[in-house]
C-alpha cells in the first residue's frame, strides 16, 4: 500500500511539475531503501572492501592447502580446533577457518568498515552533503549501521562459503561427526554451517556498534578503525585473564568461539541466545551513544 501510494504521488509530481508539494507527500512513504542500496553500492565499489574479502577468503584456502600438501593422515592434536577433522571431512575447513578468523581477521575487517561509517564520510567531506541533501542524521546513522551489519554477514559468509568450496574440492565429504559423538548427513551439516554463520555474524554486531560510535567522534577514519580493532583485542585479552572472571560475561567477545555449541546433538541453544542478548545490549548502549553524539555534533569537516 505505501509503495503504490508513493508511486502514484511520484507520477502526480511529475505530471504537475510541482516539486515542492508533490514530492512532499512522497517523503512520508519513503523509508530510505534507496539510500541503503546506495550505501552498499558505495561500500562494494571500493577496492578496499574487495581486498578485505579476498584476505578473508584466503584463510580457508591456506588452511586447506596446508593440510592437503603436508602429511594428510597425521593427527597431532595441535593447531586450531577442528583442524584434525579436515582430512575426514572437507566441511570442517569452513569451521576451522572461522576459528582462526574470529579472533583477529574478522574483527579487523569489521573494524575497518564500522570505523569508516561516519568518519570516512567526514574525511571525504561528503558527510555535509549527505546531511544537506537532507539524509537526516538519525536515518543516516541507521543506514550506516545496517550497512556495517550487512558487511558482517558478507564477511562471515565469504569465509564459510570459500571453506566449503575448497573443502569439497580437496577432501572427502561424508557424514559429519559432531562434538557430542552423533553423526549427521551432508544437508544437515550445511544447515549447521549456516547456523554457525548466523552466530558469528551476530557476534560481530556489538563490535560494529562500538565502531559506529567511535566513528562519530572523529573526522579521521583510520583512527576510528584502529580504536575499534584495538578494543576487540583488549576485550579478548581481558577475556583470557582468569582474575577477571566476573567481567567475562559482559565482554562482547565472550561468546565469539562458542559457536561450537551448534555442533552438538541436540543443539545447545543457550550460548546462541545469551550471545544475541549480549550483542543487543552493546547495540543499544553504543547505538544510543552514537545517536547522542551525532545528533548534536557540529559538522565542520
Amino acid at each position: 500500500m505505501p509503495d503504490s501510494a508513493g508511486e502514484l504521488d511520484k507520477a502526480t509530481a511529475r505530471q504537475s511539475g510541482n516539486w515542492a508539494t508533490g514530492t512532499g507527500r512522497v517523503a512520508r512513504h519513503s523509508v530510505g531503501l534507496a539510500l541503503f542500496v546506495s550505501e552498499l553500492s558505495v561500500l562494494y565499489r571500493r577496492r578496499r572492501t574487495w581486498a578485505m574479502l579476498a584476505a578473508l577468503a584466503a584463510v580457508p584456502i591456506l588452511i586447506a592447502v596446508a593440510v592437503r600438501v603436508t602429511n594428510s593422515t597425521r593427527q597431532s592434536g595441535r593447531g586450531p580446533q577442528f583442524l584434525d577433522q579436515i582430512t575426514q571431512n572437507g566441511l570442517f575447513v569452513a569451521v576451522t577457518a572461522l576459528v582462526v578468523s574470529i579472533p583477529l581477521f574478522l574483527p579487523l575487517t569489521v573494524g575497518v568498515v564500522a570505523g569508516d561509517t561516519i568518519a570516512g564520510e567526514a574525511s571525504h567531506g561528503t558527510l555535509r552533503y549527505l546531511l544537506v541533501a537532507p539524509a537526516g542524521r538519525v536515518r543516516l546513522l541507521i543506514v550506516k549501521y545496517v550497512g556495517a551489519a550487512a558487511f558482517c554477514v558478507c564477511a562471515t559468509l565469504v569465509v564459510v562459503v570459500t571453506g566449503v568450496g575448497i573443502g569439497l574440492a580437496l577432501f572427502p565429504v561424508g557424514p559429519v561427526t559432531l562434538l557430542s559423538g552423533d553423526t549427521i548427513g551432508f544437508s544437515e551439516s550445511i544447515v549447521r554451517l549456516l547456523l554457525i554463520t548466523a552466530f558469528v555474524t551476530v557476534s560481530l554486531l556489538g563490535l560494529s556498534a562500538i565502531g559506529l560510535f567511535i566513528s562519530t567522534l572523529t573526522d579521521v577514519p583510520v583512527g576510528a578503525m584502529a580504536a575499534t580493532i584495538v578494543l576487540s583485542v583488549v576485550s579478548q585479552v581481558l577475556g583470557a585473564l582468569p582474575q577477571l572472571d566476573w567481567l567475562h560475561p559482559w565482554l562482547f567477545s565472550h561468546y565469539w568461539l562458542s559457536f561450537a555449541d551448534l555442533l552438538r546433538q541436540p543443539i545447545a541453544w543457550e550460548s546462541f541466545g545469551a550471545n544475541a542478548l549480549l550483542q543487543l545490549g552493546y547495540i543499544a548502549v553504543f547505538g544510543a551513544l552514537a545517536y547522542g553524539r551525532f545528533l548534536t555534533r557540529d559538522v565542520l569537516s
Partner: protein
C-alpha cells in the same frame, strides 16, 4: 529571545515572512570565547541574487553551515524559505541546493555515480527521474563528457562544476553557493555567472558567498558584507554603492579656471587629480577631480557652469565610487587578506 511573545516569528508585523528566503535574528556562533559569527541579522529577499561578501575568515562559511543546519547556533534564530532551521530541516533542505566550503565527493566513484549517491540521500527525490536528472544536471554544468570518469581524476575546476551540478539536481527555490568560482579559470567563472543568471531567471533565489567582489558584483542584486564575524553592511547593490562618494572628473586644458568654477559650485576640488587607471595628463589636457559630496547638483549643471566659465571641457565623467572601495572601507582591508 525569551522576552518575545510566542508566535510564528517575532516582528512579523511589518513584513510577511514570504518575502524573505533567508532571515536571521541575532545569529551568533561562538567557538570557545571567540565569536566566529556575532549577532548577525541577515535578510535575503526572495528572487534576489544575494552576494555574501567578506574576507577569508570573516564568518561567511560558519554562517552558511548554520543556515543549513550543519552547525548549531550559539544563539539567535534562523528562518529559511519561511521555516525555522534547523528544526524543520526536512521541509526546508529538499528545496535548497548547496555548495558548502568547496565540493566533496567519493574519489573512487564516477561523477554521475556521486550525484546518484547524494540524490538517494534526499528521500523526497523521486527515484524514477534520478538518472535523467543526474544527466541533465551534468549537461548543464558542462560535465556530460566526464560523467563516467572517476572523480579522483577530475581537476579542481571540474569538481567545482560537479558540486554545482549536485546543487541543481532538482529544481530548487534557494541555492546557497559558497565560493562557487574557486578553482575555476576565467572562462569557467563566466560560465558560473551565466548559470547563476539563468537559474535566477527561473525564479530561484541565489545566495552566493565570495571573497572576490569583482567576480560576483556584476550578477548580484543585493549584497551583505561580513567583517570579523559581524555584518557591516547589507542592502541592494545600488544602496551599497550610493554609500560611496560621487566624484566628477573633468578633462581640460584650462585647469585653473576649472578649479575655480567647481569650487564656486560648492564641490570640494582635489589638490591633485585622483587617478583612476589613467594618466593625470594627456597631451596638453589635464584632469581635475572633485567630490560632489552631499550637494544636490546635477551633472549637466556642472558642465553648463564650466562652459559658461570659459573652460574648454574635453571630457567629463561622473564616478559613483566603486563597490570595491566601499568594501575595503567597510572591512578595513583588501578582499583577499585573511581577516
Amino acid at each position: 529571545m525569551s522576552a518575545e511573545p510566542p508566535g510564528p516569528w517575532p516582528g512579523d508585523v511589518t513584513r510577511s515572512a514570504g518575502d524573505l528566503a533567508i532571515e536571521t535574528r541575532g545569529l551568533t556562533k561562538r567557538f570557545g570565547h571567540q565569536a566566529a559569527v556575532d549577532q548577525i541579522d541577515l535578510a535575503v529577499p526572495r528572487g534576489s541574487v544575494f552576494g555574501f561578501l567578506g574576507p577569508n575568515g570573516s564568518g561567511k562559511t560558519t554562517t552558511i553551515r548554520m543556515l543549513l543546519g550543519l552547525a548549531s547556533a550559539s544563539s539567535g534564530q534562523i528562518r529559511v524559505l519561511g521555516s525555522e532551521m534547523p528544526s524543520e530541516f526536512h521541509d526546508v533542505l529538499p528545496r535548497v541546493g548547496a555548495l558548502v566550503e568547496g565540493p566533496a565527493f567519493y574519489p573512487f566513484l564516477s561523477g554521475a555515480a556521486n550525484l546518484h549517491r547524494l540524490d538517494t540521500a534526499d528521500r523526497q527525490a523521486p527515484s524514477a527521474t534520478r538518472d535523467a536528472r543526474v544527466a541533465e544536471s551534468l549537461e548543464r554544468v558542462g560535465l556530460a563528457h566526464a560523467a563516467g570518469k572517476r572523480v579522483g581524476a577530475y581537476s579542481l575546476g571540474m569538481k567545482q562544476r560537479l558540486g554545482i551540478a549536485n546543487a541543481i539536481l532538482r529544481p530548487r527555490e534557494l541555492l546557497m553557493l559558497d565560493e562557487p568560482t574557486n578553482g575555476l579559470d576565467p572562462q569557467g567563472t563566466r560560465e558560473v555567472r551565466s548559470l547563476i543568471r539563468s537559474l535566477s531567471g527561473d525564479g530561484t533565489t541565489v545566495f552566493v558567498s565570495s571573497h572576490l567582489l569583482a567576480e560576483i558584483e556584476q550578477i548580484c542584486t543585493h549584497a551583505a558584507v561580513m567583517s570579523t564575524g559581524r555584518l557591516v553592511a547589507q542592502g541592494t547593490i545600488d544602496q551599497l554603492r550610493s554609500r560611496g562618494e560621487t566624484r566628477v572628473r573633468v578633462r581640460t586644458p584650462d585647469l585653473p579656471s576649472a578649479r575655480v568654477v567647481l569650487g564656486s559650485l560648492g564641490l570640494s576640488v582635489d589638490e591633485v587629480a585622483r587617478e583612476r587607471g589613467e594618466q593625470i595628463r594627456s597631451g596638453e589636457d589635464e584632469f581635475v577631480t572633485a567630490a560632489v559630496g552631499v550637494l544636490d547638483v546635477r551633472a549637466e549643471d556642472i558642465v553648463a557652469a564650466l562652459v559658461a566659465g570659459g573652460v574648454r571641457v574635453r571630457g567629463f565623467v561622473v564616478d559613483e565610487g566603486s563597490l570595491e572601495d566601499q568594501f575595503v572601507a567597510l572591512t578595513g582591508e583588501g578582499f583577499d587578506v585573511a581577516g
